[in-house]
Symmetry: C2
Subunit: 197 residues, 2 copies
Amino acid sequence: MSRPRTFCEVTALDRALDVFWRTGYEGASISALTEAMGINRPSLYATFGNKEELFQKALARYVDLKNAFFDNAMAQPTAREVVAKLFHDGAEILTDPNHPVGCLSVQGALACTAETERVRDELAKIRSDYEARLRARFEEECRDGRLPAGTDPEVLARFVTTVSHGMSVQASGGATCEQLRAVADMAMRAWPVPDAA
Amino acid sequence: MSRPRTFCEVTALDRALDVFWRTGYEGASISALTEAMGINRPSLYATFGNKEELFQKALARYVDLKNAFFDNAMAQPTAREVVAKLFHDGAEILTDPNHPVGCLSVQGALACTAETERVRDELAKIRSDYEARLRARFEEECRDGRLPAGTDPEVLARFVTTVSHGMSVQASGGATCEQLRAVADMAMRAWPVPDAA
DNA sequence: CCGATTTCATACCAATCGGTACAAAACTAG
DNA sequence: CTAGTTTTGTACCGATTGGTATGAAATCGG
């Protein structure tokens, strides 16, 4: 009731996400955030709490976007195709000019001060969650015998996320989609094959 | 002449490096730096210029350390062994408890504000320099026929650096040396082999 | 049309940011 | 022992940091 908002909460959040994505958590000042969001400081604090809560909410939006991409890859019939699609589409997303380059969970905060440890840990948790989902998928296919005997699903999942995060760093350094795809194709050559013996 | 320094310039620089490494460029405040270096502000500015110059000098120290590691790997007789050593020793260094986890050129600044663009670009240049050295080595072995025909040295170099940077992100997330080595071993399975045909 | 309620904009808060002025202290050359 | 030079510690600079107090403007239910 009473006076309604003059701004849309979700679009403001998307603007905030863009700033966090481009400049990292610490690099995003409240002034930069409010300017990008088109609102003023008290509105930000009234609506989103404080900087860290705003980040968490923007991060939740990011995870939504990323889940769409990830689930789409996971819909592939085989683990190998899942990863191939993850790499292929990931290369495009990491270099998409419509949003900041790289992956927020990598760009956001690797190094940090004591005050921003929680943010770094949150991003680390997100990364490890995706890795866990991959591992679960690989374990499944290992049990079914669809992945060669002797395949370690945990290592395989860690390898895939490692390459993905490396691709994010490459994107941050200016690598193109095609260059990332070539790297991804090369990584796929490490995919486990049944023993010839 | 006149009054001598009460501190060692290189050890102070190493302390500064440690802070930049742990907290990133923006996260390292002058107060945190002076405290870690055991000197006060005017001494810092008189000796090292300003924050950015201090970072550059600390970064030069870091590159010295990293070169020792890198050159050691490059001393291996074959490209394959170079990369295997790079991965194997890298896993240890990235998780060495004696210094901050991960690689400074990855942790330092992926995302940044307009004022710290130069720092980010400097780190990106360092990363690409190492990649170029790997590429040169691979090109050499391609010409000599020691790498299979059809091998793209540029892609191979980018793949190796991508995995390395991914390992740095993994280390930042708490991965152990052994876990990184397992990933590295898996990555080595992508190494080019001569066509069976 | 009015009163209750909420959002808005301005202007501010203490703390910290990177960076410096200044004078006392400590050293060396003579 | 003194004159001159450099480093040191303290105390400060304006600007910016994340975060708020406050009152005016706007909208709703009645």
